[in-house]
């Protein structure tokens, strides 16, 4: 199945959740609302003709331009995009599932945006979501063990955010 057919397959049960798609992109993608992410993911995993049994990767991309001059030129609003790269070993098809989150929950800096966890659908998501939480600052609801994975437990901030500022020192150790 190509992405277009998969989209048609999802349209009937999930029409309100689907917000965008691009079949001409290098990697065709389908975008869903964060609230519908877990349901769509479970559907993709469990339907016999879709059967996306492997989750390759979860990526968070921070769309934010700290430089005000450059920020005036960009064509997007600040947001965080989550990408799920899926494939089916049985049917040999691929899909990129996207969802878009605000950078901060309720626009209050410091409150992490929330997305549903898919770790109950694909076990590999457990570590990938921990990594996204650690480095990009996305809180995954219903995750069994959401703690930092690569950075130390008391590390300040989320390094892969575009506005991350490296602290001058960490426990007395200079970082520069």
């Amino acid at each position: 199945m190509n992405a277009e057919q998969i989209y048609a397959r999802l349209e009937h049960p999930f029409r309100p959740w689907l917000v965008g798609c691009d079949f001409a992109a290098i990697d065709p993608w389908i975008e869903v609302k964060p609230d519908g992410l877990a349901d769509v993911a479970r559907y993709l995993r469990e339907q016999p003709d879709l059967w996306f049994d492997m989750l390759h990767c979860i990526t968070a991309v921070d769309y934010f331009e700290p430089d005000e001059k450059k920020a005036a030129q960009v064509e997007w609003q600040p947001h965080i995009e989550l990408l799920y790269h899926l494939s089916s070993l049985r049917h040999r098809h691929r899909l990129v599932l996207k969802t878009s989150l605000p950078r901060w929950l309720d626009d209050q800096p410091g409150r992490l945006p929330e997305a549903p966890s898919v770790s109950r659908i694909w076990s590999t998501a457990e570590w990938h979501e921990r990594e996204v939480f650690d480095l990009s600052g996305v809180k995954f609801l219903d995750h069994p063990d959401l703690r930092r994975i690569l950075c130390p437990e008391d590390w300040p901030g989320h390094p892969l955010r575009k506005d991350f500022v490296m602290p001058p020192d960490y426990h007395g150790v200079p970082t520069r």
């Binding site: 992109a25 290098i26 990697d27 049994d53 492997m54 989750l55 390759h56 990767c57 990526t59 991309v61 921070d62 990408l83 790269h85 070993l89 040999r92 691929r94 990129v96 694909w122 076990s123 590999t124 457990e126 570590w127 480095l135 930092r148 994975i149 690569l150 950075c151 130390p152 390094p159 892969l160």
Partner: protein
């Protein structure tokens, strides 16, 4: 009243020892780098294993947001430093996918030669360090002797012994020097009989077999669920190899070659070469099968290299030169996975029209392969933990990035 009791009555089966937390690593030799495992043990039995990673985190993804793809290439060497050629290839192909660039026939054969040599070098270390972790020292020295010859070949072609940066965006940094292909063939010719020695030392070694067989059994569904790839996935009997099943830009590299995906299907391995029998008590998905898949892939890589050498010699023209260091990248996102020796290595590049990527993501194969450790190590004997870890063949440089 008789005091005579049956001996078995005096054995209390429900006695549990004090629970103990054991820190394995981050400097433990069998954790292959700086992995720390916290083991909760009940006597000799591990009830829970929790991996702690990140000791080698160098924020490669953040660094990539400040550099052009060619400038970032040397950093990919430092991911899986035992198979740096394959890391270079993953990143180079990912950027080429974004650019829509196709390399020449000669370049693709040359890339296959170095990548498969890298795979042999990696699998030699993986197989022999499994032996080392279980107390057998000889194979480790023997394979390092062979690996050294591959490293010498690499040194000749690119000047570096570990961090090659050879395969680069657009092509390779230099053509093979005169006589290099011949020396490759000479290496392969003398290497083939050595594989039998390794089989004798490890594959059929009674102690090794006992330690690896039926240990850390991973059913295929579980392997896929945890995103395990590469020999770890194929050891569970899943017929999946990106060199055959991947995206066109990657499979085109191997177009025209004849080879099989090494995975036990119905208890049989699809190989034309004589190889030792599978031990009768081995279960598909156990540590022994993961080890054996690697050993057979070494033989298969030799076949592929021979075909690639022939293809390279017949191909006309020049090898492709790398693209400009600060070439503008088209707006777009490209994600590509390649079959690195340890599993599927994925790179993603998000470009915004400037020469510097907006975001780079590295999907590490060992990262997913390691995430299954808590599941595999639950309820095994303490001494089996090194056997399971060795059979997963991970490198922490790639996990922590």
């Amino acid at each position: 009243m008789s005091n005579a009791r049956m001996p078995s009555d005096s054995v209390e089966f429900d006695v549990h020892t004090d629970e103990m937390l054991i820190n394995m690593g981050p400097q433990h030799p069998s954790t292959h780098g700086v992995l720390r495992l916290v083991l909760r043990t009940d006597g000799e039995v591990v009830t829970e294993a929790t991996p702690h990673i990140g000791y080698l985190h160098r924020s490669a993804e953040k660094i990539a947001e400040k550099l052009s793809p060619r400038q970032f290439l040397p950093y990919t060497d430092r991911l899986d430093y035992l198979a740096a050629m394959n890391m270079n290839l993953g990143w180079a192909l990912c950027v080429e996918k974004l650019l829509g660039h196709q390399v020449s026939e000669k370049t693709r054969h040359l890339r296959v030669i170095v990548c498969e040599l890298g795979r042999i070098a990696n699998h030699l270390v993986a197989a022999s360090s499994s032996g080392l972790d279980l107390g057998s020292f000889t194979p480790f020295l023997w394979t390092f002797r062979e690996r050294e010859k591959i490293v010498n070949l690499f040194e000749e072609i690119c000047g570096a012994r570990l961090t090659y940066s050879y395969i680069t965006v657009g092509g390779v940094t230099a053509d093979a020097p005169t006589g290099w292909l011949k020396r490759c063939e000479e290496f392969l010719d003398q290497f083939v009989p050595v594989i039998d020695d390794l089989h004798a030392l490890l594959t059929n070694n009674a102690i090794f077999v006992h330690r690896m067989v039926n240990v850390g059994v991973m059913p295929p569904e579980m392997a896929v669920d945890y995103g395990c790839t590469g020999p770890v996935l194929r050891g569970s009997g899943v017929d999946w190899d990106l060199r055959r099943d991947g995206e066109p830009i990657y499979t085109d590299m191997y177009a025209g070659y004849t080879w099989n995906v090494i995975a036990p299907i119905n208890g049989r391995y699809p190989t034309d070469h004589p190889c030792p029998p599978v031990p009768f008590d081995a279960v598909v998905g156990d540590s022994w099968h993961r080890y054996f898949v690697r050993m057979l892939e070494v033989v298969q890589s030799i076949d592929i290299i021979r075909q690639a050498i022939a293809g390279y010699s017949q191909a006309g023209g020049e090898v492709d030169r790398p693209m400009a260091i600060k070439q503008k990248l088209p707006k777009g996102t490209a994600y590509l996975e390649t079959e690195a020796p340890k599993g599927q290595m994925g790179f993603m590049i998000v470009a915004d029209g400037t020469p510097i990527p907006w975001r780079v993501r590295i999907r590490s194969s060992s990262f997913s392969n390691l995430s299954i450790v808590p599941e595999l190590c639950r309820g095994v004997m303490l001494a089996d933990v090194p056997a399971i870890l060795a059979s997963l063949d991970f490198v922490l440089g790639e996990i922590d990035r």
